[in-house]
Amino acid sequence: MADIAVIDYGMGNLRSVQQSLRKVAPTASIILTSDPQEVARAGRVIFPGQGAMPDCMREMDERGLRSAVLDAAKNKPFLGICIGLQMLFEHSTEGNITGLGILRGQVVRFASHLLDQQGDKLKIPHMGWNQVHRVAKHPLWQGIAQDARFYFVHSYYVIPQDAAIVQANTDYPTPFVCAVARDNLFAVQFHPEKSQDVGLTLLKNFVDWKP
């Protein structure tokens, strides 16, 4: 039984996730797996994802991982990253697809032709280091400064229906939700595995988390 299972459905830069976990948890057993049984047996689960959400949903289902993901999201420390956050919601306008529906709300695209605070064209994808403004306390933020910068790369963002799950916002150009949490579940739009010290701190907090 692995300490940490990183769910592999062929749609993420899993090697980066794995390397970062090895760095913060050198003695833990960490597996990349597309086997629902292994996900079910793991102590904690990371649900990453990159690319387009319709492809991610399809690849996940083709590997028979849906019920394992649903189960892990209810029962053990669970961290969603990027599309792994978006897929938890009910619906995305990206390909007009239905998500897992674990969390209520929508996934929508940044509007085109917006301007930033300085009057420059707002680029899509939102790519680079942006500030994460926390609005709630959570053990996963321990040791991370308010408004610390994490690495983002995405064109869609989540709009949760339940304000109580919102953990943090980021401005682009107006605030969007970049982190949510509920019970044993935590999910972020940014990439902690690519966010140097602050990202490694968050992953370490996840590895130590006892919800």
Partner: protein, 252 residues
């Protein structure tokens, strides 16, 4: 607010970092893993590795190098050079790259950009454009490490690449590469104004004011530099502090 990025670029040849002037006259600059680790801890926002030999016998060396770098570096890594098919994109991502840069093959086979973005997402597909000025306000796309003219207009080409799914443009002025006289700001501005995806300005950074100019005047989202960091003229921290003083949002 989103920070502007500083990206050290490591040209690699047979497992070593090298640096040239106007794409020739290569100097050895050191071991890729050591250099990458140094930049990671000094505050680089991303790293780009360009395999400038890109011949098939060097691919194995490149993959092993990326794997080693990825073990020690916790910021985004872009790798380019010799990417010819979707399988190359997959192999580089599997080795530990976060983004893959496509240059010559995008010109020879534009569908590759669409296929790679369709399979792995736009966020990991960078299209690199080597641009040479032909007349005032006009630049032509060159391929094969700057050796072959294509007849393509740089601005139109950047727009086409965005349409096919590129997530970012890495724009290098061949006229300025290694010159240390500053980015081609007109070129940078012309492409920035034509596309909605982020743009990395490259070619010509010789001092810290050049980095500021690339962002403020050129409108770039990120600036790439090699020589000024490899040979110790400036540190990443100095560069960022200078940019912050000029009112640019950076990650310090």
């Amino acid at each position: 607010m989103l920070a502007k990025r500083i990206i050290p670029c490591l040209d690699v040849m047979a497992g070593r970092v090298v640096k040239g002037v106007s794409f020739v006259e290569l100097r050895d600059a050191g071991d890729p893993v050591e250099i990458a680790h140094g930049y990671d801890t000094q505050g680089a926002d991303e790293l780009i590795f360009l395999d400038i030999t890109a011949s098939s016998d060097n691919r194995g060396i490149l993959f092993r190098m990326i794997e080693k770098v990825a073990e020690q570096v916790f910021i985004p890594l872009t790798v380019g050079g010799g990417v010819r098919q979707v399988a190359d994109v997959r192999d580089l991502l599997n080795a530990g790259a976060d983004k893959v840069s496509i240059n010559t093959s995008a010109v020879l086979n534009p569908q590759l950009v669409a296929d790679a973005a369709g399979r792995y997402g736009s966020q990991c597909i960078v299209v690199a454009i080597d641009a040479k000025q032909t007349s005032t306000g006009h630049w032509e796309v060159f391929t094969h490490g700057g050796r072959n003219a294509t007849g393509l207009d740089v601005v139109a080409w950047a727009m086409r690449m965005e349409e096919l799914g590129a997530g970012e443009i890495l724009l290098t002025s061949m006229d300025r590469d290694g010159s240390k006289i500053g980015f081609d700001l007109q070129l940078t501005r012309a492409v920035v104004d034509a596309v909605e995806i982020p743009l990395i300005a490259s070619g010509g950074a010789g001092n810290l004011q050049h980095l500021v100019d690339g962002i403020k005047q050129g409108g770039a989202d990120a600036v790439l530099a090699a020589s000024i960091f490899h040979f110790g003229e400036y540190t990443l921290t100095q560069a960022k502090q200078y940019m912050a003083k000029q009112g640019i949002e950076v990650r310090l």
